[in-house]
Symmetry: C2
Subunit: 422 residues, 2 copies
């Protein structure tokens, strides 16, 4: 019997009515002849409520105890989903991450999955039962303590279980119809994407598309597990994330979509002596502060002063830490000053097709220029071009680029174009 | 190092402030040089909230899933208590029932503890940590499923862990100062009892004193574990439940206290043929319906009809089931009718001293007669006399008896009295 893993997020199980609706969908899948394993997140804002309780008790909750606390959220939702399924006349069994065999390292709050040993889940499926598994959580191999996987953890749980159960597909249910060519709240003409390659989805996720978390896509790529992102509120086909052609899909368009991100800030270090090792010194300090930096730009030193400027972007939430870490090495490196700018936005154009179609960057820059938008930083990968703009120009930038690459829904297929280099 | 087990009920951990207060008390005990293992219930009305959620999803939640759901309550409170302790600079580790080694049978909703294997708790205590354990829950030996222990479960967890850890004492913290000679809401002159024997406490619990559950006292007696019932809101000594003399306690008084119970109803089966086997037939039907009956009275058949009446008391919550079960055997037994009366109250006078002091019953009946209260049923054990009255006379009955046996606080020591038989 084919195994289907389904994951329902917090908004899909936010209250009793939602849980009953989810239960009906699960039962439909079971009745269609599949073995069904379901991964659930905590109900609605349960996790926020628990975090708030923790904050009332202590400003610095120990990681082990915070994980113990937060995992109560999925425990509640999974039991309720199992009950709702039972009410429809099907057998369901809920399992904690630990019971489901989700084995992790011992890093509380952002544990990584080391192994999945889904013996109890397999037994339940073999018995014809529907298995309901708590997302976002596991058990540490070393300490036997309960861990949580951090952001995107439930999606990762679902993909990891799908891989371990050799499922046909991992369905990620959310409150939108799939992955779009741009955020429909910004670009009303945005279209649902039928299929994305893993690397495109990875770039989308890394560039601010919130629908799937990076870790989950990485996991899916490693285990070659197709993901189907779809809405729990409709029966529509969603977006397939897989490198295998799905259904009657035609040749993939050159550009998959436009992602945007408002969560980053920019730090510019002004007047850095243009000597070997200075950049290394600076980014070593940032790395020691455990900050993930994104884009880096170093101006070529053209002045006679022998000084240069270095800019990089980092999560806004790490802004203060970053500035402090750099402040501590100011004397050693000898730069002039640090500028912190949290009014930036990042636009990324993503498409595996751009590998074989030069001119994408040029067209992108032209579209932004035509819209009167200044580009502050640029970075590229094989299948992505990202630019940093002022944050209040980001929405305009996304719309302009979406239109320029023929992604608007009224335009039909994305345009194919020529050009030189990028 | 001496081990102290402390149990805090839902009202003691109802909110963040209460949890911080409980944490301070736990840390005080640790600083006094004891190894401390703490058992907690769910916060305030968390359990009711979870039950309500379940009801919104299905009228008949499967027991396995209901247990999974409800155990989220202690998970939240234990993690918060551990955090609050960490905030005071002490190391605390929370453990689920399963992690704490509370092994039960597989009867969901009212599982019984089969074994306690507190290896992880002992390790934590040996490391100088404070262990926080979820009350009310365990893990089934056979199915490895999460179970709950039912009413009084957290107290039972505490006593079971105390026994397994060879603790000096199991402290049960509650919102009153201890066990009283009567409910202070009914008898303002009621006094806190300094010490009760296990069998007295068993009778008190069985007769409606809500402060400790029967199972927990049974467990404590079996393992000879002293219980200290005390308030989490004050530092006062509470009530010791133990057969060992505590401190400078003088000879125990004859009467320990007056318990009352409004949770029972009375069924009278009228016109039962006075033949052998009829009572057996009736109580077999009641037992098959899984109803625990309490008092039974059969009138001696004096009439020439050869018919008798049988009355018994049972929990009001089982009333409908009981009447239906009897209705099904009416034809077979051939009785006339069933009367159901849920306006009764039960008063129980308890004291190990009454074994050696005859006349207690006589004095009790006289006190009730003087107060104009009619007695409907009587039952006795070695150390208890119980009577059933109208429910609206129960409070007056309790006050009259409390005074008659010299238990009012202004009276000093309980009176010693003579008399003939009881």
């Amino acid at each position: 019997m084919s195994v289907v893993v389904q994951k329902y997020g917090g908004s899909s199980v936010a209250d009793a009515e939602s849980i009953k609706r989810v239960a009906r969908r699960i039962v439909e899948t079971r009745r269609a002849g599949h073995a069904v394993c379901v991964v659930v997140s905590a109900m609605g804002d349960t996790t926020d409520g628990l975090l708030d309780l923790a904050k009332q008790v202590t400003p610095l909750p120990p990681g082990r105890e915070l994980d113990m606390l937060l995992t109560a959220g999925e425990r509640i939702s999974m039991a309720l989903v199992a009950m709702a399924i039972a009410n429809l006349g099907h057998e369901a069994r809920s399992f904690t991450g630990s019971q489901a065999g989700v084995i992790t390292d011992a890093v509380h709050g952002r544990a990584r999955i080391i192994d999945v040993t889904p013996g109890r889940i397999q037994t339940a499926l073999d018995a014809g039962h529907i298995a309901i598994v708590a997302g976002f959580q596991g058990v540490s191999l070393d300490t036997k303590d309960i861990t949580t996987l951090g952001r995107g953890g439930s999606d990762t749980t679902a993909v990891a279980l799908a891989a371990a159960l050799d499922a046909d597909v991992c369905e990620i249910y959310t409150d939108v119809d799939g992955v779009f060519t741009a955020d429909p709240r910004i670009v009303p003409a945005a279209r649902k994407i039928t299929q994305l390659s893993n690397e495109e989805m990875l770039e989308m996720a890394a560039c601010g598309a919130k629908i799937l978390h990076l870790r989950c896509v990485e996991y899916a790529r490693r285990f070659d597990m197709p993901i189907h992102v779809r809405s729990s509120f409709s029966a529509h086909e969603g977006t397939w994330v897989t490198d295998k052609p799905q259904g009657d899909s035609v040749e993939a368009p050159i550009i998959a979509g436009v992602a945007h991100d408002r969560t980053e800030a920019k730090i510019t270090i002004v007047g850095v002596p243009d000597r070997a090792g200075m950049a290394a010194e600076i980014f070593k300090a940032v790395a020691l502060a455990e900050i993930n930096i994104d884009m880096i730009v170093q101006n070529i030193s053209v002045s006679e002063t022998g000084l240069t400027d270095i800019s990089f972007t980092l999560p806004k939430t790490d802004g203060q830490t970053g500035v402090q870490a750099l402040g501590r090495i100011q004397g050693k490196v000898g730069f002039a000053t640090i500028l912190y700018d949290d009014h930036i936005g990042k636009l990324s154009l993503i498409g595996a097709g751009m590998r074989s179609h030069p001119g994408v960057s040029a067209r992108l820059f032209q579209a932004l220029a035509d819209a009167g938008i200044n580009i502050e930083m640029i970075s590229t990968s094989e299948i992505r071009v990202s630019v940093v703009t002022r944050d209040d120009q980001l929405d305009d930038a996304v719309r302009a680029v979406h239109t320029a690459f023929g992604l608007d829904s009224s335009d039909g297929e994305a345009v194919v174009y020529g050009g030189s280099g990028r």
